[in-house]
């Protein structure tokens, strides 16, 4: 899903079958890449200009939607100061702790359930019932038991990201090529060695995909916890700005949150591609 737009430079008309001189072809590819970037930039500029114009002309009421240039000016001011980074750090703290907790719990559990059909059958119904429960439904309970601080944020993030990680791990372990396992067995590798040499590397790409999906969900839950229960972080800063009437600041913080999500996704996608480059098999995404 996330790679939807990333591999689009290669399609189109069939390439000329005749070999072209190497330098020319490299030149053409370079020109193509420049053209793609120009089109992308134009797309961004047109969108921003349209919003700017809508705000300046009053098509979008200015007190609710200030010109984008003002939002970005505000953001530029925030980026050089410390407070924004403190909020980013708080959000990322809950994000990281929750994700780590979920990984530590879900990956071993997924390995067990993927390897043992009996264990999977025993807990299948429980999983099928718990997985679709919207994590945010647990906010009030978490507030009661854990308070309105970091613990609740971490719990919510961990609960929500546990499921994609669990299912990706199960898929990964179940998808290990039986020929590879048999080969390992025929070479006399013990169960533990087989696990380390065959199962773990085969399942790793699935877990990487699970981590990418989970990282996006984790950010959603971290921001939600901050918005709803007022745990400190970007989400709380946004709602404080809004209720205080600092509209431009609110938009600047929303943009900052979006950029954070975009950056996290870029990092995880890149890591996933590096893990996947040797792995020919199709990955299946377990979904949210």
């Amino acid at each position: 899903m996330s790679q939807a737009l990333q591999h689009q430079t290669g399609d189109g008309v069939p390439a000329a079958p005749a070999p072209v001189a190497g330098r020319d072809r490299r030149g053409a590819r370079w020109r193509g890449r420049v053209a793609t970037w120009v089109v992308k930039l134009a797309g961004v500029l047109v969108t921003l200009s349209a919003l700017e114009l809508a705000s300046r002309t009053g098509a979008l009421p200015r007190q609710w939607f200030p010109p984008v240039t003002e939002m970005y000016a505000e953001l530029a001011g925030l980026v050089v100061g410390l407070p924004l980074w403190v909020e980013v750090g708080r959000t990322l703290g809950g994000w990281a702790a929750g994700l780590l907790l979920a990984t530590v719990l879900a990956v071993p559990a997924g390995m067990l359930l993927g390897a043992s059909a009996l264990a999977f059958r025993l807990v299948r119904v429980v999983i099928e019932f718990l997985r679709p429960v919207p994590s945010v439904a647990l906010i009030p309970l978490a507030v009661l038991v854990l308070g309105t601080g970091l613990e609740t944020k971490v719990f919510l993030v961990a609960f929500a990201t546990f499921w994609p990680l669990l299912f990706q791990t199960i898929y990964g372990v179940q998808d290990v090529d039986p020929v590879a396992t048999d080969t390992a067995r025929s070479y006399g590798l013990g169960a533990l060695a087989r696990f380390g040499e065959v199962t773990l590397p085969s399942a790793a790409p699935y877990i990487a995909t699970g981590l990418r999906i989970a990282s996006a969900i984790a950010l959603v839950l971290a921001v939600t916890a901050e918005l709803v229960i007022g745990a400190p972080g970007l989400g709380q800063a946004i709602i404080v700005a809004q209720s205080g009437g600092a509209i431009t600041l609110m938009y600047a913080l929303i943009i900052a949150t979006g950029l954070l999500g975009w950056a996290l996704n870029a990092v995880f996608s890149a890591a996933e591609r590096r893990l996947l480059h040797w792995h020919p098999a199709q990955r299946r995404e377990a979904g949210l």
């Binding site: 899903m1 189109g12 793609t36 099928e128 439904a137 009030p140 989400g235 709602i239 700005a241 929303i254």
Partner: protein, 260 residues
């Protein structure tokens, strides 16, 4: 008979054990946060049969379905266009990537500002949060259509609208459904969160208000309602997907033989 029953019993063993254990423990624990299971069940019956159903669950469902439905229509239509027009796809990519990566709940204050606590704000928020997975998957699906199927249609002089409706759309179907499944979970989350932050009714509002009033059994009953809602919608979605995509699993050799 026992041979058919045994697997079912095996699968029900753990869930029943958990329920019984929790029921027994909560009955004697006298915990403020974890009231006895029987009390939650009684509260569930008192609150959610009739009154709560009409006052809170129906409004929630209405917003959810309106927002999700609009997302599906918008995402698929825009995905078809962007999937087929390469320059538009390239131009839209950075903006779409940004909006998809933006955690949707961060837009709640924005929706509050534009719409106040009206229903339209929540519908708007759900659309804004759920349209991207559908859009991106539709684009991917459209781009994955077999060229030979389009050539075939062209050689039989199938007009453009029929090529779109009978070939491009079904061929993109598996990806569209994958996006819709992701979006459904996001839609439920956004429904609950937007009701918690800015609403006067809805299940999310009910749960949070109960917690603030320390009406713990009520809160629990609301959480159960949300769980049942998520489970039911997911189940309905899978049945729906099964109906539309049985050919896909069939052609991939994943259909059990008793199906047809």
């Amino acid at each position: 008979m026992t041979r058919r029953l045994a697997p079912v019993l095996l699968e029900l063993l753990v869930p029943v054990a958990i329920l019984v254990a929790f029921g027994l423990w909560s009955a004697q624990a006298d915990s403020f946060y974890f009231p006895p299971l029987t009390e939650i069940a009684r509260e569930f019956w008192n609150t959610w049969v009739f009154a709560g159903f009409r006052n809170d669950l129906l409004p929630s469902l209405g917003r959810l379905l309106a927002g999700y439905g609009a997302s599906v229509v918008l995402g698929v239509l825009a995905g078809l266009v962007l999937g087929m027009v390469r320059i538009a796809r390239t131009a839209a990519e950075p903006v779409i990537e940004f909006l998809r990566a933006l955690p949707a709940p961060a837009l709640i204050p924005f929706a509050l500002l534009l719409f106040g606590t009206a229903d339209s704000g929540k519908v708007f928020l759900i659309v804004l949060g759920t349209v991207w997975p559908i859009l991106l998957n539709t684009i991917d699906g459209v781009r994955g259509v077999e060229q030979q199927q389009l050539d075939m249609a062209h050689s039989y002089r199938i007009p453009g609208y029929a090529r779109l409706w009978r070939i491009v759309l079904p061929a993109a179907g598996p990806r569209i459904f994958a996006g819709m499944r992701t979006s459904l979970s996001i839609a439920i989350i956004l429904m609950v969160v937007s009701e918690m932050v800015a609403s006067r009714n809805g299940v999310g509002y009910f749960v949070l208000q109960s917690q603030r009033a320390f009406a713990i059994p009520e809160m629990w009953s609301g959480i159960v309602v949300l769980g049942v809602l998520g489970f039911t919608l997911n189940w309905l979605f899978l049945r729906f997907e099964d109906r539309f995509l049985f050919w896909h699993r069939g052609s991939k050799g994943l259909l059990s033989t008793d199906r047809r």
